[in-house]
């Protein structure tokens, strides 16, 4: 029989289907990780995946999670969402329907977490986002009430922005501010709007609100406009790959005002990418600091550094806590039934994690916990102060 192209293709497709439908049959607890392994912020996805794998390794070495009367090991399912909203929704579908996970941890970027939250809600699976700060992730888009299945392990922009605004007015003595943010991304947009609100409530004035879109490289037009408005500080809630660019161009245009950042700056890659040291001395808000660490955190930092060679950033620490929250919910539910696990998570009131003390008020999806202000100095992050909720 002549080997046509169609025969080869059919064989390829069939083998592909067969390979992917093979599932392991050992009983285990399946946890899904929906992470940004490629795309705009691969460092965030890598931290998330590594922390999840560290947690899984530690728990499995101790025998696993106690589900009812037996101990089951964790089986991690990692899917990449390429930091794109539609791929994030598809990844959530895959994790929940195909891989049959009990809990989904992730995504981290709010643009990805919001659509994944919709899918988790409609399919009835618990989702815990480690890093997404946009309030919309855990809110029903039609009614505004909290979603049933979406939780998070970090504080929201509603807490973070007033903290930053207070820092700007009290510590940096800023009376005017300019904001430059990515209008096509959820997290920076909500952070900017809430910062403006908080800053003006604290007596300041936002003199310039400029926008750009994801993937833009040239900010000279917007920065020239900002320069005209002569602000005291510039609020830059941009992720770690955009911020050094913006800072470099701002300094080139002669803008001397200091920069203020959100938790999106928290990856150490930001210093690596800042070849011109334009961010030296800038302040930003973070979820935890390796310097002001509790004993539990110190243990985690030591384990992570031993396994991966670099200190964990806040995404890694928050993922570790999210995994712990997930494991605790499964253990207290006593079974891997999704509804039971979700109810167990909803009834969690306090939790002591690597990133601090969590308090989940009744019917709230996000914890009340402390934020830290950090400064970039001498090529690394330095803790400045902690703000309690």
């Amino acid at each position: 029989m002549y080997l046509h192209t169609r025969h080869i293709l059919a064989a390829l497709v069939l083998s592909g289907i067969l390979l992917t439908s093979c599932q392991p049959t050992k009983p285990s607890v399946k946890i899904g990780i929906n992470a940004e392994l490629t795309g705009e912020m691969p460092a965030v996805g890598a931290s998330c995946k590594q922390a999840a794998e560290l947690f899984t390794e530690q728990v499995n070495k101790a025998g696993g999670i106690a589900v009812g009367s037996e101990k089951l090991p964790i089986l991690l399912s990692v899917v990449d969402n390429s930091c794109k909203a539609d791929q994030s929704a598809a990844a959530a579908q895959r994790l929940i329907s195909q891989d049959g996970v009990t809990v989904m941890v992730g995504p981290n970027a709010s643009s990805c977490a919001i659509p994944a939250g919709e899918i988790a809600e409609s399919l009835g699976c618990l989702m815990i986002s480690p890093w997404s700060t946009n309030p919309k992730t855990t809110q029903d888009s039609q009614t505004g009430k909290p979603k049933k299945n979406a939780f998070r392990a970090c504080f929201t922009d509603r807490f973070e922005s007033p903290v930053l605004a207070a820092f700007a007015t009290k510590n940096l003595h800023a009376k005017t501010a300019a904001v430059l943010y990515d209008v096509s991304s959820e997290a920076p947009t909500s952070q900017s709007a809430l910062f403006k609100e908080a800053f003006e409530k604290a007596g300041g004035k936002v003199v310039s609100m400029e926008t750009y879109s994801t993937g833009d490289r040239d900010f000279s037009a917007q920065l020239t406009k900002i320069r005209e408005s002569s602000p005291d500080i510039i609020y830059l809630p941009a992720p770690y790959n955009d911020t050094p660019l913006i800072a470099a161009q701002a300094r080139q245009l002669g803008i001397k005002a200091p920069f203020l950042g959100s938790d999106a700056w928290s990856s150490p890659d930001i210093i690596k990418l800042d070849a011109g040291k334009n961010l030296e001395g800038s302040y930003f808000c973070n979820h935890y600091s390796t310097e002001a660490a509790t004993p539990k955190a110190k243990q985690f930092i030591a384990d992570y550094t031993a396994k991966y060679g670099n200190a964990p950033d806040d995404v890694a620490a928050l993922t570790y806590d999210a995994m712990a929250l997930a494991a605790n919910s499964i253990a207290s539910a006593g079974k891997t039934d999704r509804a039971a696990v979700r109810d167990a998570m909803a009834s969690t009131r306090t939790f002591d994690g690597v990133t601090g003390h969590f308090v989940y008020p009744e019917a709230a999806r996000e914890p009340a916990k402390s934020a830290v202000i950090m400064q970039i100095k001498d090529g690394s992050f330095h803790w400045v102060s902690t703000v309690e909720p």
Binding site: S213, E228, G254
Partner: protein
Amino acid sequence: MKYLAQQAINALQLGSIYALIALGYSMVYGVLTMINFAHGDVFMLGSFFCLLLIAIVPVPFWLALIVVMGATAILGTLIERFAYRPLRNAPRVSAIITALGCGLVIQNTTLGISPYARPMPHLLDNVTYQFAGITVTTLQIIIIGVSVGLMMVLDFLIRKTSFGMAMRAVASDRATVSLLGVPANEIIAVTFAIGAALGGAAGLLYGMAYPVVSAAMGITVGWKAFVAAVIGGIGNMRGAVLGAFILGTVEVMTVAVLPSTYRDLISYSLLLLILVFKPHGLLGKPTIHKA
């Protein structure tokens, strides 16, 4: 007034980089009437080659420029030899799709090897000059200068040398040219090489201007430069440069007065308008296509 002047300098810088890339598109279209969609990714590789070079041996800016241009020239020739030449006589659409495929392969291979954005190494000391309230940096001067210089060299090459004449001959009638003893295949290969070298230079300059290098740069900037080439009349060198500066100016000026989300809308509407009234671009000449 000085605000507009500042924005004008920003526009010049952006336009220069677009011009270098647009020239690559126009040159290839001129000789082969084929849109080389892989060109944007060759541009992106220019920055990556520079990263690689500096990681192995730190060299001054001029040497880096020459080496990167050489490397991308070789890459361009290889792509032409293995992906485009076999399709010389196939329907044009197949060549375009192959170009698209090559571009995707290059982009995703680079992404697979280096998924993280990387900082561009420091090649030139950047001094900021301020006069009359406008800031100009040495980097901007170098970018504009090198671009204009390369364009002038190319213009001289095309108009005043016999090689340029051969290129123009191949562009106007490929079949007859072979009959007259001009080695068409070699001319085409060298055209690709020059186009790719210009793209590589643009990549290096772009990396210096926007020092965070990632593999996804190729698509956005590549397509914009393609639009610029078309505005000016694809196949026409001077048109490519004109189109690039027009596009750069429109982009910068739009963001200067409107929110940034309008930038693409205005640029592409302008493109559409120009194409409706001048279907072959501003400086293009109508060609008779058979079917």
